[in-house]
Symmetry: C2
Subunit: 351 residues, 2 copies
Amino acid sequence: MIFPDIDTPAVLVDLDIAEANIDRFQGHCAKHGIAVRPHIKTHKLPKLARRQLEAGAIGITCQKVSEAEAMIAEGGIDDVLITFNILGDAKLARLRALSEKVRLSVVADNTETVDGLSKSFADAATPLCVLVECDTGAARCGVTTPEQARDLARYIDSQPGVTFLGLMTYPPVGQEVAVQEWLTRAKREIEEIGLPVHVVSHGGSPGMWQAQDVPVATEYRIGTYIYNDCSLQAQGVCTWEDCALSVLATVISVPADNRAVIDAGSKVLTSDLLGLEGHGYVMGRPDILVQGLSEEHGVLKADKINLKVGEHIRIIPNHACVVTNMVDQIETIRGDHSLGPVPVVARGKVQ
Amino acid sequence: MIFPDIDTPAVLVDLDIAEANIDRFQGHCAKHGIAVRPHIKTHKLPKLARRQLEAGAIGITCQKVSEAEAMIAEGGIDDVLITFNILGDAKLARLRALSEKVRLSVVADNTETVDGLSKSFADAATPLCVLVECDTGAARCGVTTPEQARDLARYIDSQPGVTFLGLMTYPPVGQEVAVQEWLTRAKREIEEIGLPVHVVSHGGSPGMWQAQDVPVATEYRIGTYIYNDCSLQAQGVCTWEDCALSVLATVISVPADNRAVIDAGSKVLTSDLLGLEGHGYVMGRPDILVQGLSEEHGVLKADKINLKVGEHIRIIPNHACVVTNMVDQIETIRGDHSLGPVPVVARGKVQ
C-alpha cells in the first residue's frame, strides 16, 4: 500500500523533486545570464516561492491581484510582477495597497488599462512600473505590432503615476527566432523615441531549455517546471522522474478484468487534456489508460487491469497547475516519506 | 454595465431561476409519483439543499463523505444517500459519525466495500442501509449483471451492521427501456431469494423529463437541473432562460476586431467540453465563440467582436457543476438585482 496514512484523493508534492527542478533551471539560466521570475500559479504556496527566491530568482510572477496578496501575506517575497491588464476601481485600489508592501510591476496592452493605473497611482510616492504586453504569436493578449508597442510605451511615459519599464510576452511555443525578431524590433522602436527598455520578459515551461534563444530578453517567467506533468513529459521537457506532483487515489471498484474505477475525477485531476490521450499517467503502469473522468470517478482501462479494491495508486496529471488549484491542501512528501499537509494559500484566487 | 459592483470573475446564481427549476421538476415527479433526491454536487450549498427539501425532495444525494459532513453542519438536512463505495478506516469512521446525525444510506458494488461497512457498523444501534450499485450501461461503477446484484444483496443481508435497502444506478442517457429491463430483472431475482427491494434509485439531468419511463424506480437523483448549463441546453433539456448560473467576466483586452480576451479562464469556467464547441455561451451574443481558455484568460472570437475594454459580460458555462466548485463563494442575484455572496460550503470536498 502506497502512503496508507493519507486519505484519498490527495495531491502529493515530492519536495525533493520540486527543489531539484527549481535548482536545475536556475542553474541553466545562471549559465546563460538570464534572470528567472517564477510564476506561482503552479504551486500557489509562499513556501515554495521563497525557495525559488533562495535559489536565485529575482522575484515572482502572479496572474491576479488576489494571488499576489495571498503570496506576500507571510512575508519573504518583495518583488512581484502581475502579468495581467488590471481594470476596475476595486482591483486598482488593492493594487495600490500592494505597491506599498512590495516592489511591484504590471503589464498593459491598451490605453484604457494605462489610464486606470495612472489614475490610481497619480498621487503615489513612486510611479508604478508598467511593461507593454506584446503578442508575439500566441494570439492571446498583447499589442500586435512593434509599432503599437512603441506607441503604448510613449503613452505610458506621458501619463502621471506610471513609468514605462519594458516589454513582456507570453510567447508561442517553439518560435524563438520570430519572438527574438519581434522583441528586438519593438525595443529598437522604443529606444529610438528616447525611452530605455529595462526589462524584456518572456517565458513558459515548454520552451524552458531554449530560454537563451531569445537573447534580447532579460528575464524568463516559468511556472509548471517546478512540478512538471504529462504535458511537459510528452513534449520531452522532463522525464517521469522529474514529476513532483501526483494524485494519490484509491481503487473503489473493479467491475471487469479490463476496468477499474478510482475516487479521483475531474474535481481533482481536471478535464485539461492539452492534446493528450487520457487523463494522466498511472505511475508504474504505462499499460493503463485513464479513459474517462466523471466529477468524482476516474475510469481506468487496460488489457488486464490487475488492481484490487482498496489499493492506492498514483497518477501524474496532464496539467499540474490546475490540479493544485482544486484542493485546499497538498500533501508534502520526500520519496516514500510523508511530511504532512500544507494549505494551498492562493488556491481559487481568481480576482 | 452589468453588475458594476461585483468584482470579476464571479459565479452568479439567479435564485429566481434556480427556485423555478427546483419547483418545475418536483412538480413533474409529483405528477408521476416519483420521489426526488437531489444531488448537491451541483450547488454545494446547504441553503439550496434545504430549498429542494422544502419543495418536496425526500433527502439529498452526496458523492463523498466530506460533502455530506459539510452539507449537514448547518442543520435542516436529515436524510443523506452517499452514492459511492466508501473504503478505508478514516472514511468509515467519519461515516459512522455521520450516521448518528442523519438518516444515512450508502451504496456498494463489491464485497470488499460491504466488509468495511459491516465492520464499521457491527456494533451500531441500527444497521447501515446499503443499496447495490448496478451498471445498467454507463460502464462506470456497478455490478454488471442482475445475478451479481442478487448475490451482492444476499451478501449484504448476511453481514452484521448492514441491511440491504435496494438498487441504485447511474444510468446511460436515453436508454430508459434497457434500464427498466435490467432493474426489473434484478429486483425479481432479489425478491425471489426473499429480500424486499425497498428503493430503486436512478437519475441524471439529461434524462430528467423521461424519469417516469423507468417505472420500476422509486426515486430520481438529479443535480445539474437546479442551475442548467450549455450541455443541457444543447440536449434540449432546458432553454437559455432556465440557466441560473453564469460567470461574470470583464473584457480586459480587445487586440483585434475579431478577438477579445476576458479575465475568466479554465480556473473558473473549467476545461469541461462535454462534446460542445467552445467553452460557454456569451449571453445575448450567440455570434461569439469562447474559443480558448488559459488558466486565467478566455479568448473570444467573432466576425465583429464589438466589445470594449472594461465591459462586463456573462457566460453560461458548458458544465455548471464543476464551475461552482472552482470558487469559494457565489454571488446570488434575482434578475438584475444583486443579493450578495454566499460561501460554497462543500467546495473542494473530494474525500
